[in-house]
């Protein structure tokens, strides 16, 4: 009896060990690529900046104070870091507008794709993914060619006699938005398409049979069923948009920053890596908190529905 028991425990132990071993590549990847580097960033945020970038291994809370307060250069007084708040708010605002705009253009596109016959759907999906094959920077530079003062758009409008002077689009928030909407649009279209593709269109027909208006069908049947796709798309667009770097750098002219440019500045000419690290963590915490609140609220609502 005892030996049999021994055997099972031994087997279980072997089994457990094997499971750990098999899981180890995944665990290692998660640790080395995701959690580990985060700890390094966290550690750096509590160190002293080196003279020419990098850090000195001396503890200092200055970086975290610097996230929220700024010390006046001339009289050394502390005041709230309104510049950081402004830049953060700018990033959030641009990311939100980008999300709404991609949804506005992306939903009809996805709906169009999902309502084609099955064979041509693959083609449409393929067409949407094609831009991904071109480097992000090149796509952004192409936008620059279109919207600059002597670019395609302004030249065409002037030739058509619609305007006399070129419209200044490049180096404005509008330019950044155009760049981001274009770049992130596929990230919105594809998840919505995925949920619409599974939609049972007999439900839509049933709605019409019961004398629902088009608007009502869209609101009461299609949108609720597409909701998971819309949420996934919005998250996929909003999060990278808040950390966008290429569009604001290339199209924004480097004068008005988004949060990622502010962080880059600390690692470059600002020579303040700890502050850069602290700012990175701050923005991460804020985005994560916002997502958590959102998910909580959402699941609570779903439960009520059930």
């Amino acid at each position: 009896m005892t030996s049999a028991n021994d055997l099972t425990t031994k087997l279980e132990a072997v089994d457990a060990r094997r499971r750990w071993l098999l899981a180890s590549p995944a665990l290692l990847t998660i640790f080395l690529a995701a959690i580990g580097p985060l700890f390094i960033v966290l550690a750096y945020s509590f160190l002293t900046p080196g003279d020419y970038g990098d850090v000195k291994w001396q503890f200092s809370p200055d970086a975290w104070i610097g996230v929220f307060f700024e010390r006046d250069i001339f009289d050394d007084t502390l005041s709230l870091a309104t510049a950081h708040v402004d830049i953060f708010w700018r990033s959030v605002k641009l990311a939100l507008i980008t999300t709404v705009a991609t949804l506005f253009f992306g939903f009809p596109t996805a709906y169009f794709m999902a309502t084609r016959n099955e064979r041509s759907r693959d083609l449409w999906q393929f067409l949407i993914t094609i831009p991904f094959w071109t480097n992000l920077l090149i796509r952004t530079l192409a936008i620059l060619q279109i919207i600059r003062n002597e670019g395609i758009l302004n030249t065409a409008l002037i030739k058509l006699g619609m305007i006399q002077e070129p419209i200044q689009i490049l180096f404005t928030d509008t330019a950044i938005l155009i760049g981001m909407v274009y770049v992130y649009l596929p990230l919105m279209v594809l998840p919505i398409y995925a949920s619409l593709e599974r939609l049972d269109f007999r439900l839509v027909e049933a709605g019409y049979d019961l004398y629902a208006t088009r608007w009502r069908v869209l609101r009461k049947i299609i949108l609720p069923l597409a909701k998971p796709g819309i949420i996934a798309g919005s998250i996929l667009v909003f999060i990278p948009a808040i950390g966008a770097f290429v569009s604001p750098s290339v199209l924004g002219g480097g004068k008005n920053m988004m949060f990622s440019n502010l962080i880059e500045l600390q690692f470059g000419q600002g020579r303040n890596w700890p502050l850069g690290s602290a700012l990175s963590i701050t923005v991460m915490i804020i985005v994560m908190a916002a997502l958590l609140v959102y998910v909580r609220n959402n699941s609570a609502k779903d439960e009520r529905h059930a």
Partner: protein, 344 residues
């Protein structure tokens, strides 16, 4: 003929067997973007059978940060003179002793010795230039020989001015504009500088490096920039001109050096010697648009450059040039804080 071939083969075998330094026949150059003549690189590749790779950087601080991490894989690096003492102090550069090289005799007398590299132990001249104002004459016809073009733009240029985001150049210009001393740490002066910069920013359209193409295309109508960029923009658009501000302007040099952790040391040294040859230096100038500090290179330069106002400083402005140097750590820290204040 056959004997010569055999000799080359033997030589090649010998070089190959002596090993590591010559190993792959490679050379990696780290330089400002749009600053290395492709023709000159090709000539070097063919002359020495070396594969050259050029990597760009976009600010002195980026370059410094990357080199400080070590293992960058670069052999030759081009460093602005203000930063040379930092690179030396941080132990990033190899003591080259270029004075022993065959072509060092070509270095122009005023650049044989340099404050930033006493006795020229580490670096040789790559380019020599000035920092001033570039204006598009179609947009503004008035007097442009002043920093006020950038720091208090005339009505026609408001919202059309660019400023290159290079900390030292912009700070030096703003200090000249308010009449301060180079490298000043006087807080009263610097407060004025900060106010001038922050107020002026409202009239700027961008802070970008790419001034040549964007001036030529009319995206900017004026910019704080370097003379070579002004020259190249004028070649593309004749309405453009470079101006030396009467309040004073910066004179600087960029210098080629070899990194201490370079892998292809022999090739790097060959290259350093190569760029001091007047004909090769002229090829470089023809590309980047700056003078080069190598005597005798003028006669190989394109005609458009020989008497160009961007290269030959007009007599009435010769006095105003101010050789840039590394400021005290105290001043540097203040400048850095004003700069981050300005940029955000």
């Amino acid at each position: 003929m056959i004997r010569a071939n055999r000799m080359t083969l033997l030589l090649a075998a010998l070089i190959a067997s002596t090993g590591i330094a010559h190993a792959e026949g490679e050379l990696n150059i780290y330089n400002w973007g749009n600053y290395t003549s492709p023709e000159m690189v090709k000539k070097f590749e063919q002359a020495f059978d070396v594969k050259v790779t050029v990597t760009d950087y976009d600010s002195s601080d980026t370059a410094l940060a990357k080199a400080r991490q070590g293992g960058s894989g670069y052999d030759v690096v081009v460093v602005n003179q203000v930063y040379v003492p930092i690179w030396v102090k941080e132990g990033l550069l190899m003591e080259l002793d270029p004075g022993q090289m065959e072509n060092f005799k070509n270095v122009a007398p005023e650049w044989v010795n340099a404050d930033f590299d006493p006795g020229r132990k580490y670096t040789v001249p790559w380019a020599v230039g000035t920092t001033g104002v570039v204006v598009n004459g179609d947009a503004y016809k008035g007097d442009a020989d002043s920093w006020s073009i950038v720091f208090n733009p005339p009505e026609e240029l408001k919202g059309k001015v660019n400023v290159v985001p290079e900390l030292n150049d912009v700070m030096a210009a703003a200090i000249q504009y308010v009449g301060g001393e180079q490298c000043t740490a006087d807080k009263a002066v610097l407060k004025k500088v900060r106010d001038v910069l922050v107020n002026a920013k409202a009239d700027w359209i961008a802070m970008e490096y790419n001034t040549i193409e964007k001036m030529a295309a009319g995206d900017f109508k004026a910019t704080l920039a370097w003379n070579g960029a002004g020259f190249r923009a004028r070649m593309k658009n004749p309405a453009i001109s470079f101006h030396y501000p009467r309040e004073g302007y910066g004179v600087w040099s960029d210098n080629a050096a070899v990194l201490k952790d370079a892998k292809n040391v022999d090739n790097a040294k060959l290259f350093i010697n190569f760029v001091m040859d007047p004909e090769n230096a002229a090829m470089n100038s023809a590309f980047h648009g700056y003078a080069n500090g190598i005597a005798g290179s003028e006669k190989f330069m394109p005609d458009t450059m020989k008497n160009a106002p961007e290269i030959v400083i007009p007599a009435e402005r010769r006095e105003g040039g101010q050789l840039q140097r590394l400021c005290s750590p105290e001043a540097q820290d203040l400048y850095k804080r004003i700069w981050t204040d300005l940029r955000k």
